[in-house]
């Protein structure tokens, strides 16, 4: 009644694609978070006036489609004769894209720490770094973590676009199988299920943390 030409090796191919999706996501989120924390602290520290150039650049990353950014990034590395592999280019562009969003999250987190708390820390003789490390970081993480998880999921989904640069990730892998087996609906459903299985538990965790950690609850 239901038969398909899909074999186990095809499923392994899909799993390999999913692995690529996860690899791109992991690298970009890790690099993007580090950059985001750096930019977020800078933005908060120097004030809106001096941070305006940085704010503008990061805003561009959020207002231009990721697909266009990827194409531009690839063209730029070709023009500069860097000879990057598609994987490197994708990770660099996605990292900057992540960093742009992460900066906002970090800034919001730091903003949420009451000034008086920080003044108290400084009055106790803590240095700026100690204040950041022992007072601001623990409080800001609580506020920022749910949205950071949301961002991670967003990047995981957006990483599907790297197929445009020729990287074989989950969606591209299923597209290849569709071309070969001519069973679009079935294979795309499997592909969607894999995305769903990866992201739903993390989304649930984010929702749980949000409920658990939200103040005055």
């Amino acid at each position: 009644m239901f038969n398909t030409a899909l074999s186990w090796s095809d499923l392994a191919f899909l799993a390999q694609g999913a692995g690529m999706t996860l690899a791109v996501t992991a690298v970009s989120v890790a690099a993007g978070t580090v950059l985001g924390i750096l930019f977020g602290v800078i933005r908060f520290q120097v004030g809106p006036y001096w941070a305006a150039p940085l704010t503008f650049v990061l805003d561009v990353f959020r207002s231009v489609p990721l697909l266009i950014q990827l194409v531009l990034g690839n063209a730029l590395q070709a023009i500069m004769k860097l000879g990057w592999a598609p994987f490197t280019t994708s990770c660099v562009v996605l990292s900057l894209y992540t960093a742009a969003y992460c900066t906002e999250i970090v800034r919001g987190g730091i903003d949420s720490v009451p000034t008086n708390t920080r003044r108290a820390a400084r009055s106790l003789g803590m240095s700026w770094f100690q204040d950041m490390r022992y007072i601001v970081a623990p409080l800001a993480v609580r506020v920022s973590l749910p949205s950071w998880i949301g961002l991670t999921l967003g990047v995981m989904k957006d990483s599907a676009l790297v197929l445009w640069l020729g990287l074989i990730e989950l969606l591209r892998a299923s597209q290849i199988l569709v071309t070969r087996l001519q069973e679009p609906l079935f294979i795309l459903l499997i592909c969607g299920a894999i995305y769903f299985i990866i992201s739903l538990p993390i989304a649930r965790l984010g929702g749980y943390l949000e409920k658990r950690w939200s103040p005055n609850d």
């Binding site: 266009i68 069973e183 795309l188 969607g192």
Partner: protein
């Protein structure tokens, strides 16, 4: 470092074509937003109805829309529906994909907005003799749309950015599609896409600004 000559002139000559593409982009985004908004309101009603089946349907829609890539949804509309003998043109497939995505995200926004509206208002409406649909339409919905307006603006910007994905299913009339076609003819990738990026940026900012002005006019008291 740069052993490359930029040919901006060639790209600037194509600007009128690209601006036409930008209009198509805006059109798709706007249409998808209107359709998405209508579906999202229906989904919100389903969730409120207390009917197991309808509520489950709405939840499933929202979860699928939010937990799979937008590109996947567009592929589903373009390639997946072919299994049922429904062959959509790239334009319609793109529209369906983005509208599906918008509906999911907007329904979630509405749910958040509903929390801000006290339950007692519905009850007050009901005790004035309104049917539950009337109470929703006349009392809850206007307030809900107001609270959800700013998140909806963000969704509109997202919709504009998402239209660029149409190029992957062979769309060649929107901004990304036109740019890709010009690029395929001349191989001036960087120049053309840089101009496209600027146009996208301007559109996104203009929409945000317009929404802010609109909100300031509409929502003052």
């Amino acid at each position: 470092m740069f052993n490359y000559t930029f040919h901006w002139n060639q790209a600037l000559k194509a600007l009128p074509q690209m601006l036409d593409g930008a209009l198509v982009t805006l059109q798709i985004a706007l249409l998808s937003m209107i359709i998405g908004m209508a579906i999202a309101i229906a989904l919100t009603l389903f969730r409120l109805s207390g009917n197991r089946l309808l509520g489950g349907f709405a939840t499933a829609w929202v979860e699928v829309a939010r937990n799979t890539p937008a590109l996947f949804q567009i592929y589903m509309a373009h390639f997946g529906l072919g299994n049922f003998g429904i062959h959509l043109s790239p334009f319609v497939a793109l529209l369906v994909g983005i509208a599906f995505n918008n509906a999911g995200y907007l329904a979630e926004n509405f749910r958040g907005a509903l929390k801000a509206i006290p339950e007692t208002q519905t009850r007050a409406g009901r005790s004035l003799g309104m049917t539950s649909l009337q109470a929703f339409r006349l009392i809850v919905m206007p307030q809900m749309l107001r609270v959800a307006f700013l998140p909806a603006t963000n969704q509109m910007v997202w919709a504009i950015l998402m239209t660029s994905l149409g190029v992957t299913v062979g769309m060649n009339t929107d901004l990304a599609g036109v740019t890709q076609e010009l690029n395929a003819r001349s191989f001036r990738t960087f120049e053309f896409f840089a101009i496209a990026a600027v146009i996208y940026y301007v559109i996104a900012k203009a929409v945000t600004l317009a929404a802010r002005v609109f909100a300031a006019r509409m929502f003052r008291y």
